[in-house]
Symmetry: C2
Subunit: 384 residues, 2 copies
């Protein structure tokens, strides 16, 4: 159990997954709010929008036509942040100069994709049934598999996972072997998303980015220090037993507000058993994962009866890495939603948070309690 | 000089000050923007607002009346995130249980203040002359001095710094010795600020927060590895020579877009010589600091002809710490502004940035070049 005194006093909690602290100030929720308000999201969208560059059959920025896809559709991002080919960069290696000591850069190449989650312009994951979410998980699995290092211990397994062919366009294996694949979704204008058509992104890079690098480091350390046990297996077992931070769980997965969550309604969704990546799941486990995603996103929308904005993303084994990096990686999904008090009042991670330390007001236990209570049908359905 | 190829290719840069990487994708600025737009800030405010809880003589939330202050005014935050007194928390110390291994928390006490920068409701630092900014710096110095550990090598020096008495209300030395003091300002609704009256905040805590902790660690390491030289002394010297990232400098300070800046128009303002904290500055140096703050904030407003939002804050020696921590700390100020393309289009640090790695589009060199060009009088003045 969590000591009840933590509901009333300022304290710090340690994020074991990234090795950093956050400040919790529960009494601060009493503060009146006179600051900025978000635009409430528009709820009525057409099923097809002739101007949307993600709807089936429409023409994209680069002049190509989308196919008439039925489930998901994947294409290379027309405005990719990283590219497969670019000019070479060889930093001066005069290691004695002040400049090469202080100004360190390295080139990054990679490939960015967009994944449409559905042909229906008006849906979000929260509107979709688990059965409709399964093709999204299968598409993630296929694209991850396509980029796996053939020498990875995961590659052989990936080959045996038979996932039905999907409407996913013509994907080609990239020319280069990339190090990490970040799969994510930005949902809502508040999270920088500029098109409401349900979609996510994939950025694969030659670099191992900061966040997964920190986590893998912590997971490797934990395993070494605790006789080969895995951080997130232990954590899911503990949370599943304590229940206070649980929002939803099934046989394969636990989802709840992590003890060290930064955003008011942040959620960590993790496999209960040690799974390194998407290719470790069988059909039944993919169904369980789809169920948890549906349960979480529906509760999010129900909480403030709005299209709940968030950024979410998958952390899993690197495409290419050492044995330790791959074997210690543990599949999980983070949901980072900005809202705090209502559909229009968000938590600002600004001044103190940017310069000193992330800070939250409502405790993870209080947040989990509210989200648990938001089960039942999607609030929009009751109006239909 | 910076290799010009970095203007065209994706690359990562290493932030030497916090030991982390950021992704730079310069070609991405060509991406069209169809997402959220900020509210442009209202420009005409009265010099006195009877409803503002920061204006002189007005009554605050707790029923107290503000004095008729002339320069600055300091009071204890009515909605403090940390408090001097709270119930005790003693975590179970059964170190063998899974719970005490995975759920780590510690109590934090402290004190939060609000500092009004001017009695005039309609001003911002950008409107104020260096002479008007000096009292703000003096107030920062006084409040830092008041909280310094009497055993710190800085304490004796602090006592000899004679700073004229200021209109700062009745400040009392806190009961406890705090570890770190974070001085910061959130400016603009986009940065979670709910009152336009020019003001900043101060949070002093028993903990050393994450960001200064990371930086101090990097500064201690640099000094050990490089024969006692200081990271930011070396860096300011290099930047002052290369000039490409400089926005403004004078005898004592360098300000510019750091090589590893995350926000499009982020600025690092650092003393050129090794100064550990505010108390290391004499009168002349405080005047130089006021000049740089005026030059930076004016250029910010001129860039998009708007009240440019930002969070800014001071990093300096901890109030209490080891000799190494105090002697290696180097006074500097970070400005983190969210705007990217115009007064209404910001950079979203969302999906990829939250889950993988901070990412910027425009290069630091391009940003510095634009800010350098925004000298001249404040755009609002030309309309008067
Ligand atoms: O203290 P304020 O101005 O009410 O609140 C603002 O600054 C704080 C410190 O950065 C943040 O925690 C809040 O999210 C923000 O809205
Ligand atoms: O790629 P999009 O959807 O155009 O852009 C959005 O997501 C990106 C990846 O998180 C961010 O870098 C952008 O700031 C954000 O607006």
């Amino acid at each position: 159990m969590t000591d009840p005194v933590l509901n009333d006093i300022s304290h710090r909690r340690f994020n074991l997954l990234r090795g950093s602290w956050i400040l919790v100030s529960p009494h601060r929720t009493k503060r009146p709010w006179q600051g900025a308000q978000e635009e409430p999201s528009k709820v009525t969208l057409p099923e097809y929008d002739p101007k949307c560059y993600l709807c089936p059959s429409n023409t994209r920025a680069n002049g190509e036509n989308n196919p008439k896809f039925k489930n998901t559709f994947v294409f290379v991002n027309d405005f990719s942040a990283v590219k497969e080919e670019q000019e070479n960069y060889h930093p001066e290696s005069n290691s004695k100069s002040l400049a090469s000591r202080l100004l360190r850069a390295e080139a990054v190449t990679g490939k960015c994709y967009v994944i449409c989650f559905s042909p229906n312009h008006s849906l979000t994951l929260a509107d979709m049934t688990p059965a409709e979410i399964i093709p999204v998980i299968e598409t993630w699995t296929n694209i991850y598999t396509l980029h796996l290092d053939p020498k990875s211990p995961l590659a052989k397994l990936a080959a045996t996972r038979s996932i039905p062919e999907l409407d996913q366009g013509q994907l080609e294996r990239p020319n280069a072997q990339y190090r990490y694949m970040q799969i994510f979704e930005n949902k809502g204008q508040a999270m920088g998303c500029s098109n409401p058509h349900p979609h996510g992104q994939v950025w694969a890079t030659t670099s191992l980015p900061e966040e997964p690098a920190l986590e893998i480091q912590q997971m490797v350390k934990y395993r070494q220090e605790h006789n080969g046990s895995h951080l997130l297996t232990d954590y899911a077992a503990l949370e599943s037993e304590q229940k206070v931070r649980t929002v939803f769980e099934n046989k394969g997965f636990w989802a709840g507000v992590p003890y060290w969550g930064v955003w008011p309604f942040e959620i960590l969704l993790t496999s209960k058993q040690h799974k390194r990546s998407l290719v470790d799941f069988n059909k039944e486990e993919r169904e369980q994962l789809a169920e948890v995603i549906a349960e979480i996103t529906r509760r999010y929308d129900n909480l403030f009866e709005t299209q709940f904005p968030y950024s979410m993303g998958i952390h899993q084994a690197p495409l290419e890495g050492t044995n330790d990096e791959i074997e210690c990686s543990h599949f999980h999904i983070h949901f980072y939603p900005p809202l705090l008090r209502s559909a229009t009042v968000r938590k600002f991670q600004v001044g103190y948070e940017m310069l000193a330390e992330p800070q939250r007001d409502i405790t993870p236990e209080q947040a989990a309690d509210r989200l648990r209570g938001c089960c039942g049908p999607l609030y929009r359905k009751s109006f239909e």
